[in-house]
Symmetry: C2
Subunit: 386 residues, 2 copies
Amino acid sequence: MDDSSKNTAHSLSDLETPALVLDQNRMAQNVDRMRASLARFDVAFRPHVKTSKSIQVTRSTLGQASGPITVSTLKEAEYFSASGFTDILYAVGIVPGKFDHVIRLRRQGVKLTVILDSLEMAQALCGKARQENTRFDVMIEIDSDGHRSGVVPDSPQLLDIGRCLVAGGQYLAGVVTHAGNSYNCRSIPAIRQMAQQERDAAVGCADRLRAAGIACPTVSIGSTPTAMFADNLDGVSEVRAGVFVFGDLVMAGLGVCRQQDIALSVLTTVIGHQKEKGWIITDAGWMAMSRDRGTSKQAVDQGYGLICGLDGELLPDMLVVDANQEHGVIAHRFGDPAQTPALPIGTMLRILPNHACATGAQHSRYHVVNRNSSDIVEIWERFRGW
Amino acid sequence: MDDSSKNTAHSLSDLETPALVLDQNRMAQNVDRMRASLARFDVAFRPHVKTSKSIQVTRSTLGQASGPITVSTLKEAEYFSASGFTDILYAVGIVPGKFDHVIRLRRQGVKLTVILDSLEMAQALCGKARQENTRFDVMIEIDSDGHRSGVVPDSPQLLDIGRCLVAGGQYLAGVVTHAGNSYNCRSIPAIRQMAQQERDAAVGCADRLRAAGIACPTVSIGSTPTAMFADNLDGVSEVRAGVFVFGDLVMAGLGVCRQQDIALSVLTTVIGHQKEKGWIITDAGWMAMSRDRGTSKQAVDQGYGLICGLDGELLPDMLVVDANQEHGVIAHRFGDPAQTPALPIGTMLRILPNHACATGAQHSRYHVVNRNSSDIVEIWERFRGW
């Protein structure tokens, strides 16, 4: 979309495509559902802003001007702190090359907490704190599901790291874990079990630290699936989740939301047809959708996305079967041209994404609409980069 | 990277990661190789700027201040025309929603050519031209390989479209095709055959138009693989190619470049280890690399990328085996921890991408270095969006 159309468009149908659309009613409902799930427990909520990278979306999520948040980059910490979000957990392992940036933010008044999972890094952090005559807020990352980073729960390193941090004068805020493998579950019972495992790993590590005389005030866990289906959060103090705010086809495939809950879509225009193949060509390729094919590992593969009309209602069994940089190929799931609606050149469609975090990242702004409407009620910026 | 480090970094080792790195010597060599390939024929060169989205990269490619270019979005047309590139082919099928933008650019003096592949669109274009008392430069898109858009070469629609455009007072610049299926070839002979097919389809359509009394001055073909390996471009007037300028692992897997020719890489830092699994965790996840897994369909799957040291030299058989949003997991190809180099926390690495167009798009600037050096000699901006 060029700047002139951005400033004058009142309706989605005025936009140059592709463009990112956000249904704020669906989003509000998604937020309510997550809040209702967490209200079953005595836990704080620290949403992950990596999904939206938007001040307005995060304000809507927290229902207030600011609040505790989780970030995936220091750039997110910069942006959000500039808008009054000062309680920030940077949930990617800290490295020495980022110490100065963290210290700069903390000296600006940001309560920025970093995470680490090795004695090596704890020692480096203590050294930097001594050198700069400062201290850090730190959490120890726990590997609750074997999918990525973190100290293995029964590892002797846990206590070594805790002792090193305390002896080095750091504020050990607690333990943090993320059961990212919940995205690979095949059933709700499997998600419930993963949630229990996530909770048990984190609480177990907190207990081990406390038994060794090391204070561990905060136990932070979370992913959208486990936050939605946890049965027991005893001992957990805060929950993090990100993608719930928009939902996406991966979450719908997991049963964490319904397809009709997905608040994010990519507006596109039909640019041509290959009629004998039953193909409809659009101007939303992988640049607009991202290359994310998260549903390809699920029971039902949704290609590069499912197709809705301009009103956001699904066109049954129509999906993006292939994508080039600025071209999408839409076809019927069962290759049945007879079932394919007539969508002449110029028809505008909305595509539901596999993965809201990845698709959102391809765009610079949200065109905010209400449910079943194509009137643009607001434009919200989103940022990117590091 | 935050703005303060951007402005003060003199070496890659000063940067906050992830960050995009461009080896300008490798790039120059890639440009020379493409120019040498095309010098075998009497053809013009119209590079596709969708790969770099950078004025400086394109100037380096063309060896002059401006020149004919291909774009994939009207935003690219805006940016490049503002820097003096006024001969522009917009190589995605035009739709009515973009007419006004095209007319605006043309009235600013841009020789912007649009493409279409249906009588329906040709009629709409003629109608708009009448209404606005203007005319368009148009090319007819030909489907030379069945992979996407375009008129099938022997279709009667070809002449109908040509006649419609001429009768409607448009300037029919010629025919255009892109053998995108060349990316799926399994051998150099297969690429040569695809190049012949691409040329034959385009020249054949030009001949059909001319035989019907319709002028067809330009025959435009091209993709990086076919441009590099074509044996015969008789009747072709211009060649387009994009990804050649950087190269990537998909092109290396095809035999179109070597791994050591790849000019683009993502700088990352080791943030942790899962030693018993042989995993090295970095801060370059799919946000920095893109979700593109183009090599997964090739004979050798390179994961999310191959690993180099800070000097750009490959670490044998080390690759990114998995990626989350801001985490990459590096491991040895054969899962052999004994072969895995010791890469302590804080070690900086460079990752060669599957697909330069997709990886580049995740970043806002190039940190330009010379071969085997980590000194940053220039910073070049790249733009994004629509």
